[in-house]
């Protein structure tokens, strides 16, 4: 009789401990990591409608990044921009891939890109010592006026 009463009490106590731990404990890093990883995987799973190529040539004072943007989907894509950023690896955990510049002034608008159609692009960056200062870059194609401002594709420029 005594034992029979104790077991339901233990059950209630364990449920109470569960609730308290769930309610008051901070999330662990692994939870954040799992959440972030899930979002990346979700994006990777979408596949690509756009393929970007990029070639960089640099002197000690300027850099040119050029390439093509190709619509590899079966539909015409509209209202896109080709944009880019430069970044510097600051070598410290916590704010490592720091953006130096966004090519907002030079971004290229694409009104319409038919299936299999390609568009050449060139960005010329002045007063930048790409190699000497270990600059990195990214070129990306975005639909900035869409509801979700989707970035359709990106490419890393070393």
């Amino acid at each position: 009789m005594k034992t029979n009463k104790l077991i339901p009490l233990l059950l209630v106590l364990s449920l109470l401990i569960s609730c308290l731990l769930v309610s008051f404990a901070a999330p662990r890093d692994t939870d954040y990591q799992a959440t972030l990883k899930a979002k990346i995987d979700s994006e990777l799973a979408k596949g690509a409608k756009i393929v970007i190529t990029a070639t960089r040539s640099s002197t000690s004072t300027s850099t040119t990044i050029s390439g093509t943007v190709t619509n590899v989907s079966s539909s015409t894509l509209t209202d896109l921009v080709i944009n880019g950023m430069t970044l510097k690896n600051r070598g410290e955990m916590g704010f490592n891939y720091s953006v130096l510049d966004v090519f907002n002034e030079d971004k290229i608008s694409i009104n319409s890109l038919a299936p299999d159609a390609s568009l050449n692009y060139t960005f010329t960056l002045e007063n930048i010592n790409w190699v000497g200062n270990v600059i990195h870059g990214v070129i990306f194609v975005q639909a900035p006026n869409s509801t979700d401002k989707e970035v359709l594709q990106a490419i890393y420029v070393n």
């Binding site: 890093d29 979002k39 799973a45 979408k46 510097k88 955990m93 916590g94 270990v134």
Partner: protein, 767 residues
């Protein structure tokens, strides 16, 4: 049954202990999240662009950033590209702000992460943004004290400090003092500290704020000093050229201390003695307004009195060396056959001229001639002009300035609608370029509206409806190849007889002074010379050089002119319906704000040589359109920092036998600002990439522990970027003043140190 209950108990308790610290698991992406708009089957591999907006020092950012960086490394750049963009703080750029605005206009929170735009988001404390899932926030997070302590106070005067703290969970907070001087109290609900000190000295205080379980503390020391002096006299604010001016500054000290008098800001020739008596004999160079700031000190506390002395006269002018250059002293100024000389501040004046129009001609050996045509003297008012007098391009060349004539617009015209005309510039030999603009301001215009190599041009159509009705100016500036310069300003009236809404007053005014060290030249006379010369080199057809004349293309200027190292960048928010903005400035000690420029965008660069280190400078801005001007913004200020120069110390240049983990040490010539940020690097001789690099704040040495150095190899090391920051605004995290020692990324041959880069050779394996 008992076994069943026991089994259930063990299962639930196990789940509690091993998984209980996590929030509710993030929901798996829904089909719509995973498939975008669900269109055709995509082909090709997707690369995910992750944009992480954060705030320097934000606790949540410190958690998220390393996790995201670790993930980016795990995936590699062929799958994930991570970009970290500072939402606010010292790494912020206007481009990043624009991009952040694009994603989350209005109220922002960081960290905010966009995965391929807003198709996926992750945002602490933000529940909107494209349907991304939001992890539950941590429960019962600790409060944070956000206010800055008041650390000085005056004897026998009530001290107050209202402690502010925030709690991310909105818990009710309780304030207490765990260390305090006798009689100091704190309101446990509001955090207001009050205390009336009865003795001088230093007193330790520790404040604790609690949400009931977690706490934050703030420790500081209050210095109690005696009471400051009080100035009791009223300044004399008028004077006359050639007549001695005197003013006795009277002051008292409540504590009876001895008082000492100093001139902080004063015109040339003014002096103050130990009793506070100011004496001065103004010259013609002082015609117009002269700012004065007097400091009275008891050697512990001080008080200032600021005033302006006005000297009447017909003409007052300032000669500067370039659009962002220093004052020119010793130039001969000729007006109507009368000559005078510019003083140390580049000022000159003429006391008495009859009403009429006059040419002003400024000459000096080694400098080009500068001329202002048809200056109006009328109604006994003081006409104020500014001239640019550059150094000659080639000393052997002639120094006759060009002559400007304008048709279509004349002095005193009333203009409306679209106006056109023509400008003709004649010169004995050659013309370099012509500038034309409305509302001429030298520091803005000298780089714009240039017409190279032409001597006769048609004015661009001037849409007068963009300007407010009322007085305005149109200015033409012409240079020849030897930098001889002429300027013609036409005073006109804009009258479009229309009416409409005046734009609203701008907000978020943010002046930030930028001081450049000796190694920096990206905004200076040198920089513009360099660009001019590169332009000529790359496109020789821009200017047809006369036979026998050339420019030394190798004389590339990499460093700032020593006296043109300072400017103030002023930003504010855009105003709808405004066609332009007017910028007003006054220096500490002046009573009146003066119009210093106009611009069509919401930023302005003030590079006036009157800016100086330590001189508090105030700004206001108003927006305008064809219907009028808005109210001026409330004033904001900046105080420029001194130059921030530094030298490398060790390993010394040419050192050998250096350890594979060397201590890199450098030394600022003068430590300026509250925060100093240094980027260092080591690179192997002839290597393409840095062996190691990093960033430190408020430290002047590091022990190298990056990629291993090799034995007996030559390496170069340097500080490539070094910036000092002053306080931020408090209401928003932008700094009032910065000073830059070096910025290699902006300058091909830039360096952060005066004596770098240094080379050293590492030790042999047997050492």
């Amino acid at each position: 049954m008992k076994k069943l209950f026991l089994l259930l108990f063990i299962i639930i308790l196990s789940l509690s202990l091993f998984n209980g610290c996590s929030p509710a698991s993030p929901p798996a992406p829904t089909p719509s999240e995973s498939e975008g708009e669900g269109e055709e089957e995509p082909t090709g591999d997707r690369v995910v662009l992750v944009e992480l907006f954060n705030t320097e020092g934000c606790a949540a950012s410190k958690v998220i950033n390393p996790i995201m960086e670790d993930l980016a490394q795990q995936y590699g750049t062929d799958k994930v590209i991570l970009l970290e963009e500072a939402g606010w703080g010292k790494y912020t750029t206007s481009e990043v702000q624009e991009r952040f605005d694009c994603y989350v206009p209005g109220s922002k929170h960081t960290p905010f992460i966009a995965f391929n735009g807003l198709s996926q988001t992750f945002s602490e404390g933000v529940s909107s943004g494209g349907g991304g899932s939001v992890p539950a926030p941590p429960a019962n997070r600790a409060p944070t004290i956000t206010s800055t302590a008041v650390t000085t106070t005056t004897l026998e005067v009530e001290y107050t400090y209202d402690v502010d703290a925030t709690d991310p969970d909105g818990d009710i907070l309780t304030y207490s003092l765990t260390t305090k001087p006798i009689d100091m109290t704190i309101n446990s609900s509001s955090g207001l500290i009050t205390w009336t000190p009865t003795a001088k000295g230093d007193f330790d205080v520790v404040i604790e704020v609690s949400d009931g379980s977690l706490t934050d503390t703030q420790s500081f020391t209050i210095s109690v000093v005696d009471q400051p002096p009080v100035v009791t006299s009223t300044p004399i604010t008028t004077a006359t050229v050639g007549v001695e001016y005197s003013y006795d500054v009277d002051a008292t000290d409540p504590d009876g201390d001895d008082l000492y008098y100093y001139l902080i800001v004063s015109p040339t020739g003014m002096a103050i003695d130990g009793e506070g008596s100011i004496s001065w004999t103004p010259t013609a160079a002082h015609i117009s307004d002269n700012a004065v700031v007097v400091e009275v000190s008891d050697l512990e506390l001080s008080v200032t009195q600021s005033f302006t002395i006005t000297i009447p006269g017909s003409l007052s002018g300032t000669v500067i060396s370039d659009a962002s250059g220093s004052a020119v002293e010793g130039s001969t100024v000729t007006v109507d056959g009368t000559t005078t000389t510019t003083d140390a501040q580049g000022r000159f004046g003429v006391a008495s001229l009859s009403d009429g129009t006059y040419d002003i001609i400024v000459t000096q050996s080694g400098r080009a001639t500068s001329k202002v045509q048809d200056v109006q003297i009328a109604d006994g008012q003081t006409t104020i002009v500014s001239l640019v007098q550059k150094e000659v391009n080639v000393p052997e060349w002639e120094t006759d300035p060009p002559t400007i004539s304008v048709t279509g617009i004349a002095e005193g015209d009333e203009l409306s609608g679209t106006v056109s005309g023509s400008v003709t510039v004649t010169d004995a030999l050659d013309i370099k370029y012509i500038f034309i603009g409305a509302c001429y301001i030298p520091t803005q215009l000298e780089y714009d509206f240039a017409y190279y190599g032409k001597s006769n041009i048609t004015l661009p159509s001037l849409d007068t409806t963009l300007f407010p009705n009322g007085d305005s100016q149109i200015t033409v500036v012409a240079y020849d190849m030897n930098y001889n310069r002429s300027q013609l300003t036409l005073n006109v009236t804009i009258n479009n007889e229309n009416s409409g809404d005046v734009p609203a007053m701008p907000t978020d005014l943010w002046p930030c002074s930028v001081t450049l060290g000796e190694g920096v030249g990206f905004f200076s006379t040198g920089r513009n010379e360099l660009f001019d010369r590169i332009g000529i080199k790359e496109n020789p057809d821009i200017i047809n050089l006369p036979e026998g004349r050339s420019i030394d293309l190798n004389a590339v200027i990499n460093v700032a002119d020593p006296d043109s190292n300072l400017f103030v960048e002023i930003d504010w928010s855009d105003v709808g319906g405004a066609t332009g903005y007017k910028i007003y400035r006054k220096f500490e000690g002046e009573t009146v704000y003066r119009l210093i420029g106009s611009t069509q965008i919401s930023e302005f660069c003030d590079a006036d040589p009157q800016l100086s280190v330590g001189r508090k400078t105030y700004y206001q801005v108003s927006a305008f359109n064809a219907f009028g001007k808005s109210e001026k913004t409330p004033a904001e200020w900046t105080t420029p920092l001194p130059k921030f120069n530094l030298n490398l110390v060790s390993p010394t240049d040419g050192a050998s036998g250096v350890s594979l983990t060397p201590a890199l040490q450098w030394q600022p010539v003068e430590v300026v600002g509250k925060y100093q940020h240094y980027d260092w690097y080591i690179i192997g001789k002839n290597d393409s990439y840095y062996t190691g690099y990093g960033t430190v704040e408020n430290e002047t040495s590091i022990v190298y522990d990056d990629e291993p150095l090799q034995y007996l190899k030559v390496y170069e090391w340097n500080i490539d970027n070094a910036i000092a920051f002053d306080d931020d605004y408090g209401t928003f995290i932008e700094f009032r003043a910065i000073s830059i020692a070096g910025e290699m990324t902006s300058l091909p041959n830039g360096t952060g140190s005066l004596n770098g880069a240094f080379e050293f050779t590492t030790q042999s394996e047997s050492e």
